[in-house]
Amino acid sequence: MSIARTIGWVAYVTVAALMLTATSARAAEMNPELKKLAAAADKEGGVNLSWSQSTLGGSQGAALIQTAMNKMFGTRVRLNFAPGPAMARIGNQLATEWQAKQPAHVDVYLGAAAQTAPLVKLGFFEAVDWKRYLPERVNSEFVEVDGQALRFVTGLSGVTYNSRLAPFKPTTLADFLKPEWKGKIASTPYAASFDVLVADDVWGKEKTFDYVRKLTSQISGLIRCGDSERIATGEFIALVMDCTGQDAKIWQERGAPMDQMIPLDAAQQRYYYLSVPKHAKNPNAAKLFSLFMLTKEGQRLAYQTWKADLHVYPESQLGKQVRDYIGKGVTFKEVTIGWWLKHPEITSYKRQMIKILTKKN
């Protein structure tokens, strides 16, 4: 063996030993419950994840999270990410698999209250005592429906639009009913954010339906919330309404002329949740991943990849924006799963709105 090769091997072994020591030191800082969970997750070896390629940075984001998570917990868990369809579709696939007694195709379900609340009723999410694992980061208010859903990022709903092609800077939802926007805007095929407005304690059915009916003659197509590249390209000039405004910021960074408008009379603060299905193949790795997303590093990566984090953390980037909006007099409607479950009227109204929106005039 040559000297150079020997030195190379010694260096390699030293670095590996140092990394192991560092990892062990970090692992030693974990509470015993978390340590046990990490060991169980490590044994499972992987976690199956699926959401849109634009959520949490898609496949590239998953790779970043995998490295950081394993570094933090001293594990070797593989994040098997597959770009997936809309959150609702993943949810109904999970529900179908649960009914058919099949293992879940994903180990973690990522959804907002609109998608998670109906699934909670089917009872297939595991009630996890999240605080037990990470008491310093998990507040009681983050844990909803007895631990079946864990808040991990905040989103502010509004309208994402192409600032270069917009006929004027919009300030209210009514602006999009003006002739200048006709045939140039899109909505979502799932009535995103209108499903909140339609609730009896927000706009109510009459006002929301009236708006949606008028809007449907203005829109030329339907796209998913994560499909913001189509706003950037100018295929559509605005998405009325979006799920959250992260995409506008992501595309701004890439040089696209994008912006988000928060309507003063329809401002919504929603959350995205992580839930572990009872039929998950790798439940421990799923829990570990969910907990990681609430750590400082996890939150930093959530903002880096998706421009979203949980606004209540002191280090939150989104928190500053929320405080700015509140300072400007914006009052946000807080949309939680609990709120959603208290409004059973939304389900049928939403179905009717989807029908209105998907029908071409």
């Binding site: 699926s50 849109s52 390629q53 634009s54 959520t55 898609g58 496949s59 590239q60 098997n80 990410f81 597959a82 770009p83 997936g84 369809p85 809309a86 609702a88 579709r89 949810g91 109904n92 529900a95 179908t96 698999e97 009914q99 058919a100 007694k101 099949q102 293992p103 195709h105 994903v106 699934l119 009723k121 089917l122 140039k184 899109a186 095929p189 009535a191 030329s220 197509g221 339907l222 796209i223 998913r224 994560g226 499909d227 913001s228 590249e229 189509r230 950037a232 390209t233 100018g234 295929e235 559509f236 995409d247 890439r254 040089g255 696209a256 939403k350 179905r351 998907t358 029908k359 071409k360």
Partner: protein, 580 residues
């Protein structure tokens, strides 16, 4: 007693394992095909979720389907889309076929090659390209026309039924070409010569003789293409979906992937049942036309030479016409796809756009998933044609060579996967694996479910190929071998398979290529572990990664090149890319 006498006496000799195995295989596959459709029929009468104890039976789904105005809109859209598809496919396909078969047009082999290869290029890739070309706001051609003529609005819109039909029609023109070329080839030229002797000019001859003679064959091609258009998923999904234009396949996809909790399988099944009835009617019409077209065929032998028309200077417009077709159907959309793959987000060519050109979308692919997709696609490309052809051979032998009572039904069942839209088979397979086979054969979410459904989907084409191959081999050859003491497996190995090998090889490659581009079935049945390359592209596109999806589509098209080259060599050796 001789082997022939033994075979003629009964269904086949007792104790011969191969015929029994083939009959069992054919019966099992037929049962699987029928089970898929039976599940759809059963579900259409149910109310509630399958597997749930509170499942009840009622007319409710049918009432809902037929009461909903959207059903009629969707059907009108689908029929409109299929009609435009048909017109465009014929406008480009029939003249091409006529040039090749009935004129002295040069470069026939090139034309055949390009047409055949054109059929292999995935429809979703060209649809993505057309969106960048003719979208009313971002379509390059529209913007240029608007700038050139100072127009306020885009003159063309791809996001319409006509636009979608245009794209699908361009994609299916090669089928119209191949099918009508066969019709022109088999026509009796003496009738045309007689017409010309009676002083009829070229147009009159064409109107009064050529077209009436070709009509049944053209009608068969027409119904065949209409059926494909009716079931199409990729073009309507890429172009129509985001513009609120639903055709049958995309609407069915929405029904089984609703925005509220559980899929509405019952309603989807009721709609599918209605479409299955339509498909059955179309298949019947296709069968009738096929039979009628054979009545006009002539026996072609070495002495047979169809009348060749001299194009003269007309060769230039002919080349121009066909060149335009290739530019429109393949070059422009794929070039736009390539351009889009190099930009951070799609922009029209400009100095600013050029400054942002990079390979980022190529470098930032989800490579782990792409490799899984590639691996699964490669496995399916090998196993699907192998399984489909092995089964087709069994189907053809049972139908054409055995004396099994009612064997004709197997041929009908083998044709069902073409007649019934693929998406219905996909949904059927999904439900069968979820609710019927979940314990005995847990194949949900695995590559095996894709293999089974892909094999079934290709059975119609594969059996047509093995049927025609087997018909051309006289039974006496096999009987002679059996008289010499050869067992049936030996007859297969030494007589049938060597004689059928060119047909089998060509069909194998063709099915492999179709498997490579298959999207509809894979989308319905995919999960992260059984994903295929087209599904990766679809997921990227659907998730808002237009640039990444374009880059992946270009990678996929590049990967097709060596496979197409092999196909070309094989097809050329067999003379399938040349006429006369």
């Amino acid at each position: 007693m001789t082997a022939i006498a033994r075979r003629r006496r009964g269904i086949f000799r007792m104790g011969e394992a191969l015929p029994v195995t083939m009959l069992v295989a054919v019966s099992v596959v037929s049962a699987i095909i029928l089970a898929h459709l039976a599940v759809i029929l059963w579900l259409s009468w149910t109310d509630g979720s399958p597997g749930s104890p509170d499942l009840t039976y009622s007319w409710k789904n049918y009432i809902e389907v037929f009461k909903d105005r959207q059903t009629y809109d969707v059907l009108a859209n689908t029929i409109g889309f299929s009609c435009v598809t048909l017109i465009v496919a014929f406008v480009f396909g029939i003249p091409g076929a006529w040039f090749v078969e009935r004129t002295d047009f040069g470069g026939k082999t090139i034309l055949f090659t390009l047409m055949t290869i054109g059929l292999i290029i995935p429809g979703f890739a060209t649809a993505m390209g057309w969106l960048f070309l003719l979208h009313p706001r971002i379509g390059m051609l529209n913007v240029w026309i608007m700038q050139l003529f100072g127009l306020g609005e885009a003159p063309l819109n791809i996001a319409t039924i006509a636009g979608m039909g245009w794209v699908q029609g361009l994609n299916l023109a090669p089928i119209a070409f191949i099918m009508t070329a066969a019709v022109f080839r088999a026509m009796d030229p003496s009738l045309e010569e007689a017409a010309q002797t009676s002083r009829a000019n070229v147009l009159t001859t064409m109107r009064r003789v050529t077209l009436p003679l070709a009509w049944p064959g053209i009608m068969a091609a027409l119904i065949y293409i209409f059926t494909i258009g009716f079931a199409a998923f990729d073009v309507p999904a890429i172009i129509g979906w985001s513009n609120r234009i639903f055709t049958f396949s995309t609407y069915l996809y929405v029904l089984i992937n609703p925005q509220d909790v559980l899929p509405r399988y019952g309603v989807a099944a009721a709609l599918s049942t209605f479409v299955m009835a339509l498909a059955a009617a179309l298949s019947w019409a296709y069968g009738v036309m096929q039979k009628r077209s054979r009545e006009f065929a002539v026996v072609t032998g070495k002495a047979y030479r169809p009348r060749i028309m001299k194009l003269g200077w007309g060769v230039y417009p002919a080349w121009g016409f066909l060149g335009l077709y290739f530019l429109l159907s393949k070059f422009f959309p794929i070039a736009l796809l390539g351009w889009s793959s190099l930009l951070p987000y799609f922009q029209l060519p400009s100095a600013m756009a050029l400054s942002t050109v990079s390979l980022n979308h190529y470098l930032s692919q989800p490579w782990g998933l792409v490799l899984t997709g590639l691996q699964n696609t490669a496995i399916l490309m090998i196993l699907t044609p192998t399984a489909a052809l092995a089964l087709s051979l069994a189907f053809s032998w049972i139908v054409l060579r055995s004396k099994v009572p009612g064997r004709g039904i197997f041929d009908f069942i083998a044709f069902l996967p073409h007649a019934v839209p693929n998406i219905i088979f996909g949904v059927g397979a999904l439900l069968v694996t979820l609710y019927v086979l979940q314990r005995a054969f847990p194949i949900y979410g695995t590559i095996w479910i894709l293999l089974i459904v892909f094999t079934i989907a290709r059975l119609s084409y594969a059996t047509r190929m093995t049927n025609s191959g087997l018909i051309q081999i006289h039974a006496e050859l096999e009987e002679s071998a059996q008289i010499c003491g050869a067992s049936l497996p030996r007859v297969f190995r030494r007589v049938l398979l060597p004689l059928l090998s060119p047909t089998l090889l060509y069909a194998w490659l063709w099915i492999a290529l179709l498997t490579f581009r298959e999207l509809t079935l894979a989308v319905i049945l995919s999960s992260s572990s059984n994903t295929t390359l087209p599904v990766v592209i679809w997921s990227l596109w659907l998730g808002g990664g237009l640039g990444q999806a374009s880059a992946m589509a270009i990678i996929m098209l590049t990967l097709m090149v060596p496979i197409v080259a092999v196909y070309w060599v094989v097809a050329r050796r067999q003379g399938l890319l040349a006429t006369q």
